[in-house]
């Protein structure tokens, strides 16, 4: 059997595809397309109003997260418990400055 006679049946099988009836999209294709196009235009108009970094949800969420984290940090810093400072004029401050303790301070008396 030569090559052409071997190829021909396959070519005939593939050519059946050319004879298929053309498929049609569902009715009102254009109406649905118009609605999609309108939504897409509105979406791009809304996007044009926002800055570029807010147009992408990942950037917007990241920015929001960063703002919340900064607010929490500031709130914690503002409300930290105050460290009691010793008044330099008191007896306690004098003992602390000269690294004395109560036992040593009066040992020579």
């Amino acid at each position: 059997m030569n090559r052409n006679s071997e190829d021909q049946p396959w070519e005939d099988r593939f050519r059946k595809l050319k004879k298929l009836d053309r498929a049609q999209p569902r009715p009102y294709f254009y109406t649905r397309l118009e609605a999609r196009l309108k939504a897409r235009i509105e979406q791009s108009e809304a996007a044009a109003v926002l800055p570029w970094w807010l147009q992408k949800p990942a950037y917007a969420l990241g920015t929001l997260g960063l703002l919340i984290a900064m607010n929490v940090a500031v709130a914690l810093w503002q409300n930290r418990p105050a460290v009691p400072e010793t008044d330099p004029g008191t007896y306690e401050a004098f003992v602390q400055d000269y690294q004395l303790n109560h036992q040593n301070a009066f040992v020579d008396e």
Binding site: W10, R13, R15, A23, Q24, P25, Y30, L33, L37
Partner: protein
């Protein structure tokens, strides 16, 4: 003297000018003229009617948005086929990635729902007595490599010449011939058992 092709081209450039001017009637005309080609090409590649319609709509949305960038070096039909095949192949890749991801997540028990291959595709234009054969043929086409699939679909379903396919795929005629040859060899390999079984049931 103008030939038929020149006249068609003249009409096409008028249509493009109207589209660029944002005329709604021109867009409607474009859709009515080409929706059949776009839908059938997408259907042959994605092999799912709803997804093919979604592809076809996306093609026309892209045409509407980018008509200003269309250089009239190629014919409008060539440009439409190029957008359609690119979108359809991208859709197939996305579908494959989703399937792979769902399989992976199901292994870790995150999501137990595994995406399965869509059921056998039955082209709506196939006569009842040919349904089994055509369904097997479409399944085999689906397994071809991307470029082979595009060349085969454009030639055997859209009846495009080798030169037209080369323009769509932005390659040479000999590259298209080679793609078609390899596509046919691969299909023969896949389909031989089916036709043998049919011959000797």
């Amino acid at each position: 003297m103008f030939t038929f092709n020149d006249t068609a081209r003249l009409q096409e450039s008028e249509l493009i000018a109207e589209l660029r001017a944002g005329r709604e009637s021109a867009f409607r005309m474009l859709v009515e003229m080409h929706q059949d080609k776009v839908y059938n090409t997408a259907l042959a590649i994605v092999q799912h009617p709803e997804e093919a319609e979604d592809m076809a709509q996306e093609v026309f949305v892209e045409v509407y948005q980018t008509i200003g960038q269309f250089r009239e070096e190629a014919r409008l039909t060539t440009w439409l086929y190029r957008i359609t095949t690119t979108k359809a192949l991208a859709h197939l890749r996305k579908r494959k990635a989703q399937k792979r991801f769902s399989r992976l997540t199901s292994l870790f028990g995150i999501n137990n729902e595994v995406l399965h291959d869509p059921p056998d595709f039955h082209h709506p234009g196939v006569a009842l007595e040919q349904q089994e054969e055509m369904s097997t043929l479409f399944r085999a086409i689906n397994r071809l490599a991307d470029a082979q699939k595009v060349a085969f679909v454009l030639h055997y379903i859209e009846d495009q010449s080798h030169r037209e396919i080369a323009e769509v795929m932005q390659g040479t005629v000999s590259a298209v011939e080679s793609l078609l040859h390899r596509a046919k060899q691969n299909l023969r390999k896949q389909l031989t058992p089916f036709y043998q079984e049919r011959k000797n049931p």
